[in-house]
């Protein structure tokens, strides 16, 4: 658990980068720090692993104040990924990934097993990449290796500063999805900086929105989208915030809330399964080809008909009532 208690940061030049911030990240939670450029996201993140001093207040990491911890030991228990991957060009991929386990004195066999496991996890063939150097890899591959390196010593906590920010949109989306899969397996406590609201909504269990060093709202993505705390938040998430929220829900969420229309064999309708996101459903429905869809469960049983009206009804319900995911 990471707990921020009245944290403030004033830089030497007098810039107040963080202003009395309070929030908690529970174990296993994936929290996105977001806000406009210069709002203090990086500063806040770097105070956790003490790359920056805390001017006022404290950060409690697993029941210990980070100020009191031994910096070097603490950092080895925190995974750290930055935008410009920070891989060491003089070391092979294996050396790069295994640098912290090596510092911790793991034996050769344990390191090798861990390397193989991590490389499989990030989708790169261990033997193919073991002896390669960072500059022989593409940007996306380098960033994957950066993630593997941060995970190497199995730290309970990960700090990630716009890890996919420098990648082109297609690769970024791919890595986001891969990383969500990885998180399902490793279940870390993650603090993740982003400036992209779509990324935040898609990936975060919770979103912390900063502005000028102050916390604007800290809540579930659906709450941020449906119940922005103030004008700044609603402006930041954008006019299309309801549309954005549709990627948060799947067909199954809708089926749980509203009942589907009954389905007749005679109806012509494209099938969708229950895991499909509502965003895709809407897109399909707006597409000329089909004004209704038929929902199928995993066994292929047709459960009923889905129309735009039903989606609208569901969203109205969600926006008005307070959902708790």
């Amino acid at each position: 658990m990471i707990e921020f208690k009245n944290v403030s940061k004033v830089y030497n030049g007098g810039v107040k980068a963080i202003d009395n911030v309070n929030f908690k990240v529970e174990n296993g939670e994936f929290v996105i720090l977001i806000g406009p450029s210069g709002c203090g996201k990086t500063t806040l993140l770097r105070m956790v692993n003490q790359l920056e001093d805390i001017s006022e207040g404290d950060i409690i990491l697993n029941n210990t104040s980070v100020k009191q911890s031994n910096k070097i030991e603490m950092r080895r228990k925190i995974g750290y990924v930055i935008q410009s991957n920070g891989l060491f060009p003089n070391m092979t991929i294996e050396k790069n990934v295994m640098i912290v386990p090596d510092l911790l004195g793991w034996d050769r066999k344990k390191q090798q097993d861990r390397f193989n496991y991590l490389m499989e996890l990030i989708g790169l063939h261990p033997d193919e990449y073991r002896k390669r150097y960072p500059h022989e890899l593409s940007g996306g591959q380098q960033q994957r290796v950066g993630v593997a390196r941060a995970l190497a010593a199995d730290p309970p906590v990960m700090l990630m500063d716009e890890p996919f920010g420098a990648l082109d949109p297609i690769i970024r989306t791919k890595l986001q999805e891969e990383f969500l899969q990885i998180q399902k397996e490793v279940n870390k406590t993650i603090l993740f900086v982003s400036h992209d609201i779509d990324e935040a909504v898609k990936m975060g269990d919770k979103v912390a929105l900063l502005r000028g060093g102050k916390m604007m709202q800290y809540d579930y993505p659906s709450e941020i989208l449906h119940h922005p705390a103030n004008d700044f938040v609603s402006e930041f998430v954008g006019q299309d915030r309801v549309l954005k929220s549709t990627s948060l829900y799947s067909v199954k969420d809708l089926v749980d809330e509203v009942s589907l229309d009954s389905y007749h064999e005679a109806d012509s309708a494209q099938p969708v399964n229950e895991d499909t996101s509502l965003r895709i459903v809407i897109s399909k429905l707006l597409n000329q080809e089909a004004d209704q869809l038929v929902v199928e469960d995993k066994q292929g049983n047709k459960k009923g008909k889905l129309t735009l009206e039903l989606v609208e009804k569901f969203l109205h319900k969600e926006v008005k009532e307070t959902p708790n995911r």
């Binding site: 950092r75 228990k77 750290y80 930055i82 991957n85 920070g86 060491f88 060009p89 912290v100 510092l103």
Partner: protein, 247 residues
């Protein structure tokens, strides 16, 4: 196609000149002193190399630690001054440095070694600082964030990444040293300069050539060896990084 042809012609012309030069020296028996006074020649050569080696090694052992020292966070302020002094020092002509050393320390090999030592400090120091400074801040930040100690960052990140630049500095220093050591004769330092200056004084071409050609070959050989070492010692990953940056 045409371009390649011109380049080849220039290359061939260069080698023809080199070969013609050596043919001419042999035809006129200009290497006679080396054969006739082989003892003296080896002594001068050894003297020459000794001066270069002692001053060079001293310079390496002082300037690399100094370069590391001034690039530490705490001493960043001194860095500006050191870099400027190193720049300034390198504009001073080598003959002047020798003359100054003699003015203060008198005639002899000691003054020569001191002069060469001071003169070779500067390029090594400059390149050590530049090499360490050029290490990407983000990379060091990542290293700190992963819990590497400052010493580990120095040995595993900064020095390997600065190695190419440091070796280049040593190469520059040693090659300049070989030339300056040829002037050391003037202040009583011995070395192959003895024959060159004797040749000038006596208008004796054979002494000129027997002194100048070995010094030249020594400089070119050492330069080549250091370039080779730069290639071999620099980690493969870094060479790839350099190439990636160029393209």
């Amino acid at each position: 196609m045409m371009n390649k042809r011109i380049s080849q012609i220039v290359k061939i012309a260069f080698w023809i000149i080199v070969i013609a030069f050596f043919a001419w020296t042999f035809a006129n028996d200009l290497f006679r002193p080396i054969v006739e006074e082989f003892r003296t020649f080896t002594n001068l050569l050894i003297q020459h190399i000794t001066i270069v080696l002692i001053s060079g090694l001293l310079a390496i052992f002082l300037s690399i630690p100094l370069g590391i020292f001034v690039t530490r966070e705490k001493f960043r302020k001194s860095e500006f001054w050191i870099v400027n002094i190193a720049n300034l020092g390198q504009t001073i002509p080598s003959l002047a440095v020798l003359a100054l050393a003699m003015g203060f320390l008198g005639i002899g090999i000691k003054a020569a070694i001191v002069a060469l030592f001071i003169y070779s400090l500067l390029p090594i120091l400059q390149n050590t600082i530049a090499g360490i400074q050029s290490v990407d801040e983000n990379m060091k930040d990542a290293a700190r964030g992963m819990g590497l100690t400052p010493a580990q960052i120095l040995w595993q990140i900064e020095l390997p990444n600065a190695a190419s630049s440091i070796i280049a500095g040593i190469r520059t220093a040693i090659v300049i040293n070989i030339g300056t050591a040829a002037l050391a004769y003037l202040i009583g330092g011995g070395g192959l300069g003895a024959w060159i200056f004797t040749g000038i004084r006596l208008f004796d071409n054979s002494f000129l050539i027997s002194g100048a050609v070995p010094v030249t070959l020594l400089a070119i050989l050492i330069d080549y060896l250091f370039r080779l070492m730069q290639k071999l010692l620099v980690p493969k990953g870094l060479r790839l990084a350099e190439e990636a940056q160029k393209s």
